[in-house]
């Protein structure tokens, strides 16, 4: 019989707070983390269609002399490391007393070390000196630099993998970490998602894709508005989220505090289009149904969905179609919110941060507001969406994430015990 998997620790680096407590307080009061991008160094913002993002202005990586790990990796992996350290401390795990071979790391990363990548490429072309490319360039830009550096920092010798499925990366990282524990490959997993690629090239790329909000430059806090009629694209964000997963047996043996149980996961492909979701929402519905089946939970038992809801015109509409297909009339009673309304779309970190928000909601019987949901779009409005926080006793929750490459992921969480 597969092991049961529980969440015992959390850590977060986000545009509305570094640390779970600051994040959660800011989330509940509906604080926006979206601000104007002043410039990309010498590159002015005039040429960019979008000029706002969920930036973490207060993030400071540790002093290199104090932290040999952080100094060797790019900003996203530094954030991942910071979130992971908080999560491990929060879990109460005493790693010296644990078997390193039974602790693994599963990272979800969308873009990776683009900050250093862009910088070194620019320097190479400007200087014409290949020998001046930084020796740490390759280990920094490889997508597994976060999972690698975390393993080094915490001494995790179990499975160590990176999943890159664009915007759904860390939902799959959490799901696959759960599978590692279920299948007995590990007792403890660090499931982490991170991205920090608000960089000149990546940001320009998303602008060229015409995927970003462009109407709210003067009022950045209004730009991320999932399910609202005034939405006009997503807002890019940065950050990291880490969850410590353990087998229930392991957590019980060490008398750990358990936040929630992870009971279901599904991963599917729409096999449809690299960046466009299928309009009928049926593959999204199928993914939710498979996750519920994995959890042995009926749709009527679901209380809350933390939606993918990026604030794109079609994406939000298609997700609600999927919700209606799965839940029928119950779609009118379940609570739904969008963490991206607060912090923007943190890409590889989004699934992990949303899962942390969902775990906190199960524990605290309250969900955070969906910011700027002031003029509900009839095509994707649901009664359970609100621009205010909502208090309700919750037992079963879903977390949705969908990504470029036509992929979908859904997690099912259950209140514990």
């Amino acid at each position: 019989m597969a092991a049961r998997v529980v969440i015992t620790g959390m850590g977060i680096v986000s545009p509305i707070g570094i640390g779970v407590t600051p994040f959660w307080k800011a989330a509940l009061r509906g604080q926006s983390g979206i601000t104007a991008i002043e410039s990309f160094g010498d590159l002015p913002m005039d040429g960019y269609r979008s000029r706002i993002a969920g930036q973490i202005h207060q993030f400071q990586p540790p002093d290199p002399s104090d932290d040999k790990f952080s100094s060797r990796v790019d900003r996203y992996a530094q954030m991942a490391l910071m979130a992971t350290r908080e999560a491990i401390e929060d879990s109460g795990l005493c790693l010296e007393e644990e078997r390193a071979e039974r602790l693994g790391v599963m990272a979800g990363v969308g873009m990776g070390g683009m900050m250093m990548g862009e910088r070194e490429l620019t320097n190479l072309y400007e200087s014409q000196k290949p020998h001046r490319v930084h020796p740490n360039f390759i280990p920094t830009i490889t997508l597994n630099s976060a999972s690698g550096i975390i393993a080094l920092a915490v001494g995790a010798k179990g499975p160590n993998l990176t999943i890159s499925t664009a915007c759904s990366s860390s939902i799959h990282a959490i799901g696959q970490a759960m599978q590692c524990i279920r299948h007995g490959q590990a007792d403890m997993m660090v499931a982490v998602g991170a991205d920090a690629s608000i960089t000149p090239l990546v940001f320009a790329g998303f602008c060229s894709l015409r995927a970003l909000s462009t109407k709210y430059h003067a009022q950045p806090h209004l730009a991320s508005r999932p399910f609202d009629r005034g939405r006009d694209g997503f807002v890019m964000g940065e950050g990291a989220g880490t969850l410590i997963l353990e087998s229930l047996q392991h957590a019980t043996r060490r008398k750990a505090r358990v936040y929630a149980e992870l009971v279901g996961y599904a991963s599917t492909s729409e096999a449809y289009h690299m960046v466009i979701p299928k309009e009928d929402g049926l593959d999204i519905a199928r993914t939710m149904t498979l996750a519920l089946q994995d959890a042995k939970v009926e749709p009527r038992q679901v209380d809350y969905v933390n939606a993918h809801a990026t604030s794109t015109i079609v994406g939000d509409e298609v997700e609600v179609k999927g919700l209606r297909a799965v839940f029928g009339k119950r779609a009118n009673t379940i609570l739904v919110n969008a963490t991206k309304s607060l912090i923007g779309h943190t890409l590889g970190a989004a699934g992990a941060i949303a899962t942390i928000a969902t775990t906190l909601s199960l524990n605290n019987k309250v969900i955070h507001p969906t910011l700027n949901y002031t003029d509900p779009d009839p095509l994707c409005a649901l009664p359970g969406i609100s621009s205010k926080s909502q208090k309700k006793s919750l037992r079963i929750a879903l977390v949705n994430a969908f990504g470029f490459g036509s992929n979908n992921g859904v997690l099912v969480l259950k209140k514990f015990p």
């Binding site: 005039d46 269609r49 060229s208 015409r210 462009t214 289009h273 960046v275 466009i276 079609v314 990504g403």
Partner: protein, 125 residues
């Protein structure tokens, strides 16, 4: 924003059709002003973005998102570029008969149904 070029109206038409035909890999004479980018040419939203990107490159200008939704047909693109570059033009393609034969199907991808009034591309992220 860069200063647009100022081609003559005929020159503008020629340049637009050549640019579009180049992206579509078709003969410019096979394009008609009434051709819908989506329904007749079979472009999905990403392909439309790519096509507009080609136009931006060719004419050295930037087309803002709020104008993007206007570009639904070949004629829309010509009209828009005429406005942006200050050229007067008509909608006829430069090398095609006045009465156009039925076009062969050029659909290479399944078009996505439109949402009425939608003026932004449709991406998943």
């Amino acid at each position: 924003m860069t200063t647009p070029r100022q081609p003559s109206s005929n020159g503008l038409n020629q340049q637009v059709y050549v640019t579009l035909a180049d992206y579509l890999r078709r003969d410019p004479a096979a394009l008609h002003p009434d051709d819908s980018l989506r329904d007749d040419l079979g472009l999905d939203s990403l392909q439309t973005i790519e096509l507009v990107y080609q136009v931006e490159s060719a004419f050295d200008l930037q087309i803002p998102d709020e104008d993007f939704g206007r570009l639904r047909t070949i004629g829309d693109v010509v009209t828009y570029l005429g406005e942006r570059t200050g050229s007067i033009h008509n909608h006829s393609s430069p090398a095609q008969p006045s009465i156009k034969a039925k076009k062969p199907s050029t659909r290479t991808t399944t078009p996505t149904p439109s949402r009425k009034g939608q003026s932004r591309p449709r991406t998943k992220t």
